[in-house]
Symmetry: C2
Subunit: 149 residues, 2 copies
Protein backbone atom coordinates (compact mmCIF):
# COMPACT_ATOMS: atom_id res chain seq x y z
CA UNK A 1 0.00 0.00 0.00
CA UNK A 2 1.18 3.53 -0.77
CA UNK A 3 2.58 5.36 2.23
CA UNK A 4 0.09 8.24 2.02
CA UNK A 5 -2.85 5.90 2.02
CA UNK A 6 -1.45 3.81 4.87
CA UNK A 7 -1.09 6.98 6.94
CA UNK A 8 -4.61 8.07 6.04
CA UNK A 9 -6.06 4.74 7.14
CA UNK A 10 -4.25 4.98 10.46
CA UNK A 11 -5.67 8.45 11.09
CA UNK A 12 -9.07 7.33 9.93
CA UNK A 13 -9.05 4.41 12.35
CA UNK A 14 -8.15 6.68 15.24
CA UNK A 15 -10.91 9.10 14.25
CA UNK A 16 -13.53 6.37 14.31
CA UNK A 17 -12.46 5.42 17.81
CA UNK A 18 -12.59 9.00 19.03
CA UNK A 19 -16.03 9.67 17.51
CA UNK A 20 -17.30 6.58 19.24
CA UNK A 21 -15.99 7.87 22.55
CA UNK A 22 -17.48 11.31 21.91
CA UNK A 23 -20.97 9.80 21.61
CA UNK A 24 -20.51 7.97 24.87
CA UNK A 25 -19.21 11.01 26.67
CA UNK A 26 -22.04 13.18 25.40
CA UNK A 27 -24.61 10.89 26.97
CA UNK A 28 -22.63 10.28 30.14
CA UNK A 29 -22.23 14.01 30.60
CA UNK A 30 -25.95 14.75 30.07
CA UNK A 31 -26.94 11.96 32.42
CA UNK A 32 -24.58 13.20 35.09
CA UNK A 33 -25.79 16.77 34.71
CA UNK A 34 -29.41 15.66 35.16
CA UNK A 35 -28.79 12.97 37.79
CA UNK A 36 -29.85 10.10 35.55
CA UNK A 37 -28.33 6.96 37.02
CA UNK A 38 -27.88 4.91 33.86
CA UNK A 39 -24.80 3.83 31.95
CA UNK A 40 -24.46 4.18 28.19
CA UNK A 41 -24.81 0.41 27.80
CA UNK A 42 -28.00 0.25 29.86
CA UNK A 43 -29.40 3.02 27.69
CA UNK A 44 -28.60 1.07 24.53
CA UNK A 45 -30.59 -1.88 25.84
CA UNK A 46 -33.51 0.23 27.01
CA UNK A 47 -33.63 2.05 23.67
CA UNK A 48 -34.11 -1.29 21.91
CA UNK A 49 -37.00 -2.14 24.20
CA UNK A 50 -38.64 1.28 23.88
CA UNK A 51 -38.67 0.62 20.19
CA UNK A 52 -39.95 -2.94 20.57
CA UNK A 53 -40.79 -4.45 23.93
CA UNK A 54 -40.50 -8.17 24.59
CA UNK A 55 -37.65 -9.14 22.23
CA UNK A 56 -35.16 -11.77 23.34
CA UNK A 57 -31.62 -11.29 24.65
CA UNK A 58 -29.89 -12.38 21.46
CA UNK A 59 -31.94 -9.91 19.43
CA UNK A 60 -30.90 -7.13 21.78
CA UNK A 61 -27.29 -8.27 21.52
CA UNK A 62 -27.48 -8.07 17.72
CA UNK A 63 -29.06 -4.62 17.78
CA UNK A 64 -26.48 -3.23 20.20
CA UNK A 65 -23.53 -5.10 18.59
CA UNK A 66 -22.70 -6.85 21.84
CA UNK A 67 -21.92 -10.32 23.04
CA UNK A 68 -24.67 -12.50 24.48
CA UNK A 69 -22.63 -12.92 27.67
CA UNK A 70 -22.45 -9.14 28.09
CA UNK A 71 -26.19 -9.09 27.54
CA UNK A 72 -26.83 -11.53 30.39
CA UNK A 73 -24.84 -9.25 32.64
CA UNK A 74 -26.59 -6.07 31.45
CA UNK A 75 -30.08 -7.56 31.79
CA UNK A 76 -29.13 -8.69 35.30
CA UNK A 77 -28.22 -5.13 36.21
CA UNK A 78 -31.33 -3.64 34.61
CA UNK A 79 -33.42 -6.23 36.47
CA UNK A 80 -31.80 -5.25 39.77
CA UNK A 81 -32.84 -1.66 39.04
CA UNK A 82 -36.37 -2.80 38.32
CA UNK A 83 -36.31 -1.49 34.76
CA UNK A 84 -36.86 -4.80 32.94
CA UNK A 85 -37.83 -8.39 33.65
CA UNK A 86 -37.29 -11.71 31.87
CA UNK A 87 -40.04 -13.99 30.66
CA UNK A 88 -39.58 -17.45 29.16
CA UNK A 89 -40.66 -17.71 25.53
CA UNK A 90 -43.30 -20.42 25.35
CA UNK A 91 -42.80 -20.94 21.63
CA UNK A 92 -39.05 -21.49 21.97
CA UNK A 93 -37.97 -22.21 25.47
CA UNK A 94 -34.32 -21.38 24.75
CA UNK A 95 -35.31 -17.70 24.56
CA UNK A 96 -35.86 -15.23 27.36
CA UNK A 97 -38.11 -12.37 26.33
CA UNK A 98 -37.13 -9.09 27.94
CA UNK A 99 -39.94 -6.76 28.99
CA UNK A 100 -39.97 -3.23 30.34
CA UNK A 101 -41.39 -2.71 33.81
CA UNK A 102 -43.58 0.32 34.35
CA UNK A 103 -40.51 2.07 35.72
CA UNK A 104 -38.65 1.06 32.59
CA UNK A 105 -41.40 2.59 30.50
CA UNK A 106 -41.54 5.90 32.35
CA UNK A 107 -37.76 6.20 32.16
CA UNK A 108 -38.15 6.75 28.43
CA UNK A 109 -39.82 10.12 28.90
CA UNK A 110 -36.98 11.14 31.15
CA UNK A 111 -34.09 10.25 28.85
CA UNK A 112 -35.41 10.32 25.28
CA UNK A 113 -34.86 14.09 25.08
CA UNK A 114 -31.14 13.58 25.67
CA UNK A 115 -30.93 10.95 22.95
CA UNK A 116 -32.74 13.20 20.50
CA UNK A 117 -30.44 16.01 21.53
CA UNK A 118 -27.42 13.79 20.89
CA UNK A 119 -28.50 12.92 17.36
CA UNK A 120 -29.49 16.51 16.63
CA UNK A 121 -26.14 17.77 17.89
CA UNK A 122 -24.19 15.11 16.01
CA UNK A 123 -25.84 15.87 12.69
CA UNK A 124 -25.66 19.64 12.91
CA UNK A 125 -24.48 21.14 9.62
CA UNK A 126 -23.92 17.73 8.05
CA UNK A 127 -25.37 16.97 4.66
CA UNK A 128 -27.52 13.86 4.43
CA UNK A 129 -25.99 12.89 1.09
CA UNK A 130 -22.51 13.16 2.57
CA UNK A 131 -23.62 11.09 5.55
CA UNK A 132 -24.91 8.36 3.31
CA UNK A 133 -21.76 8.36 1.21
CA UNK A 134 -19.63 8.14 4.33
CA UNK A 135 -21.83 5.37 5.72
CA UNK A 136 -21.38 3.31 2.59
CA UNK A 137 -17.60 3.72 2.88
CA UNK A 138 -17.81 2.57 6.50
CA UNK A 139 -19.88 -0.38 5.37
CA UNK A 140 -17.21 -1.38 2.85
CA UNK A 141 -14.48 -0.97 5.44
CA UNK A 142 -16.34 -3.13 7.93
CA UNK A 143 -16.94 -5.77 5.28
CA UNK A 144 -13.22 -5.70 4.35
CA UNK A 145 -12.24 -6.37 7.94
CA UNK A 146 -14.73 -9.18 8.35
CA UNK A 147 -13.68 -10.83 5.08
CA UNK A 148 -9.98 -10.88 5.95
CA UNK A 149 -10.20 -12.25 9.45
Amino acid sequence: MAKAKHTTIIEFTRKIASVNIAYRQFIQSKFKEHDVDLTFEMLQVLACLWNQDGINQQEIANLTVKDKASMTYLIDNLTKRDLVYRQEDENDRRNKLVHLTSKGKTTKAEVQPFIDEMYAAAGKGLDIIELERCMSLLQKLEQNLKEHI
Copy 2:
Protein backbone atom coordinates in the same frame (compact mmCIF):
# COMPACT_ATOMS: atom_id res chain seq x y z
CA MET B 1 -34.65 17.76 12.24
CA ALA B 2 -36.23 16.08 9.24
CA LYS B 3 -37.27 12.49 9.82
CA ALA B 4 -35.08 11.08 7.04
CA LYS B 5 -31.99 12.76 8.41
CA HIS B 6 -32.73 11.68 11.97
CA THR B 7 -33.02 8.09 10.78
CA THR B 8 -29.79 8.41 8.82
CA ILE B 9 -27.91 9.70 11.85
CA ILE B 10 -29.17 6.81 13.94
CA GLU B 11 -27.94 4.29 11.36
CA PHE B 12 -24.70 6.18 11.00
CA THR B 13 -24.10 6.05 14.73
CA ARG B 14 -24.68 2.33 14.83
CA LYS B 15 -22.34 1.83 11.87
CA ILE B 16 -19.53 3.69 13.62
CA ALA B 17 -19.92 1.43 16.64
CA SER B 18 -19.88 -1.72 14.54
CA VAL B 19 -16.82 -0.66 12.52
CA ASN B 20 -15.03 -0.02 15.78
CA ILE B 21 -15.87 -3.50 16.94
CA ALA B 22 -14.79 -5.00 13.61
CA TYR B 23 -11.28 -3.54 14.04
CA ARG B 24 -11.05 -5.02 17.50
CA GLN B 25 -12.27 -8.42 16.41
CA PHE B 26 -9.86 -8.50 13.48
CA ILE B 27 -6.89 -8.10 15.81
CA GLN B 28 -8.25 -10.38 18.50
CA SER B 29 -8.86 -13.07 15.92
CA LYS B 30 -5.34 -12.81 14.43
CA PHE B 31 -3.80 -12.86 17.88
CA LYS B 32 -5.76 -15.89 18.89
CA GLU B 33 -4.89 -17.70 15.67
CA HIS B 34 -1.18 -17.07 16.23
CA ASP B 35 -1.14 -17.50 20.02
CA VAL B 36 -0.26 -13.88 20.76
CA ASP B 37 -1.21 -13.20 24.37
CA LEU B 38 -2.01 -9.49 24.14
CA THR B 39 -5.26 -7.58 24.39
CA PHE B 40 -6.29 -4.91 21.89
CA GLU B 41 -5.69 -2.22 24.52
CA MET B 42 -2.20 -3.46 25.34
CA LEU B 43 -1.44 -3.41 21.63
CA GLN B 44 -2.61 0.21 21.37
CA VAL B 45 -0.15 1.21 24.06
CA LEU B 46 2.73 -0.83 22.66
CA ALA B 47 2.12 0.58 19.17
CA CYS B 48 2.59 4.11 20.58
CA LEU B 49 5.89 3.09 22.12
CA TRP B 50 7.13 1.27 19.03
CA ASN B 51 6.59 4.54 17.24
CA GLN B 52 8.25 6.60 19.96
CA ASP B 53 9.77 5.04 23.04
CA GLY B 54 9.93 6.87 26.36
CA ILE B 55 6.85 9.11 26.14
CA ASN B 56 4.83 9.74 29.28
CA GLN B 57 1.54 8.16 30.35
CA GLN B 58 -0.61 11.19 29.53
CA GLU B 59 0.83 11.33 26.01
CA ILE B 60 -0.03 7.67 25.52
CA ALA B 61 -3.51 8.33 26.90
CA ASN B 62 -4.01 11.14 24.36
CA LEU B 63 -2.78 9.02 21.46
CA THR B 64 -5.01 6.10 22.36
CA VAL B 65 -8.01 8.27 23.35
CA LYS B 66 -8.08 6.85 26.86
CA ASP B 67 -8.34 8.07 30.40
CA LYS B 68 -5.22 8.57 32.50
CA ALA B 69 -6.64 6.19 35.11
CA SER B 70 -7.09 3.48 32.49
CA MET B 71 -3.52 4.18 31.44
CA THR B 72 -2.18 3.56 34.95
CA TYR B 73 -3.97 0.24 34.93
CA LEU B 74 -2.72 -0.74 31.45
CA ILE B 75 0.88 0.21 32.18
CA ASP B 76 0.64 -1.84 35.38
CA ASN B 77 -0.45 -4.85 33.36
CA LEU B 78 2.22 -4.36 30.70
CA THR B 79 4.82 -4.00 33.45
CA LYS B 80 3.69 -7.30 35.02
CA ARG B 81 4.26 -8.93 31.64
CA ASP B 82 7.73 -7.39 31.44
CA LEU B 83 6.94 -5.48 28.24
CA VAL B 84 7.48 -1.94 29.57
CA TYR B 85 8.88 -0.13 32.60
CA ARG B 86 8.34 3.30 34.14
CA GLN B 87 11.06 5.90 34.66
CA GLU B 88 10.66 9.21 36.45
CA ASP B 89 11.14 12.25 34.21
CA GLU B 90 13.97 14.30 35.71
CA ASN B 91 12.88 17.43 33.86
CA ASP B 92 9.32 17.28 35.16
CA ARG B 93 8.91 14.96 38.07
CA ARG B 94 5.14 14.73 37.67
CA ASN B 95 5.71 12.61 34.55
CA LYS B 96 6.46 8.92 34.30
CA LEU B 97 8.25 8.04 31.09
CA VAL B 98 7.27 4.65 29.74
CA HIS B 99 10.00 2.57 28.09
CA LEU B 100 9.94 -0.70 26.22
CA THR B 101 11.88 -3.59 27.72
CA SER B 102 13.86 -5.79 25.33
CA LYS B 103 10.92 -8.18 25.36
CA GLY B 104 8.64 -5.25 24.52
CA LYS B 105 10.86 -4.40 21.57
CA THR B 106 11.04 -7.92 20.16
CA THR B 107 7.27 -8.24 20.44
CA LYS B 108 7.00 -5.65 17.69
CA ALA B 109 8.46 -7.98 15.08
CA GLU B 110 5.95 -10.60 16.11
CA VAL B 111 2.90 -8.37 15.98
CA GLN B 112 3.51 -5.57 13.48
CA PRO B 113 2.61 -7.78 10.49
CA PHE B 114 -0.91 -8.21 11.86
CA ILE B 115 -1.35 -4.48 12.30
CA ASP B 116 -0.15 -3.81 8.78
CA GLU B 117 -2.46 -6.52 7.57
CA MET B 118 -5.37 -4.90 9.42
CA TYR B 119 -4.83 -1.51 7.82
CA ALA B 120 -4.25 -3.06 4.41
CA ALA B 121 -7.44 -5.11 4.70
CA ALA B 122 -9.46 -2.15 5.99
CA GLY B 123 -8.44 0.14 3.15
CA LYS B 124 -8.88 -2.36 0.33
CA GLY B 125 -10.70 -0.80 -2.59
CA LEU B 126 -11.24 2.48 -0.76
CA ASP B 127 -10.31 5.74 -2.42
CA ILE B 128 -7.97 8.00 -0.46
CA ILE B 129 -9.95 11.09 -1.44
CA GLU B 130 -13.16 9.48 -0.20
CA LEU B 131 -11.43 8.49 3.02
CA GLU B 132 -10.30 12.04 3.62
CA ARG B 133 -13.74 13.44 2.89
CA CYS B 134 -15.30 10.94 5.27
CA MET B 135 -12.70 11.72 7.91
CA SER B 136 -13.48 15.42 7.74
CA LEU B 137 -17.18 14.63 8.21
CA LEU B 138 -16.29 12.50 11.24
CA GLN B 139 -14.19 15.36 12.54
CA LYS B 140 -17.16 17.74 12.27
CA LEU B 141 -19.45 15.25 13.92
CA GLU B 142 -17.04 14.75 16.81
CA GLN B 143 -16.66 18.49 17.19
CA ASN B 144 -20.45 18.89 17.20
CA LEU B 145 -20.79 16.40 20.04
CA LYS B 146 -18.04 18.00 22.07
CA GLU B 147 -19.48 21.48 21.59
CA HIS B 148 -22.96 20.55 22.74
CA ILE B 149 -22.04 18.65 25.88
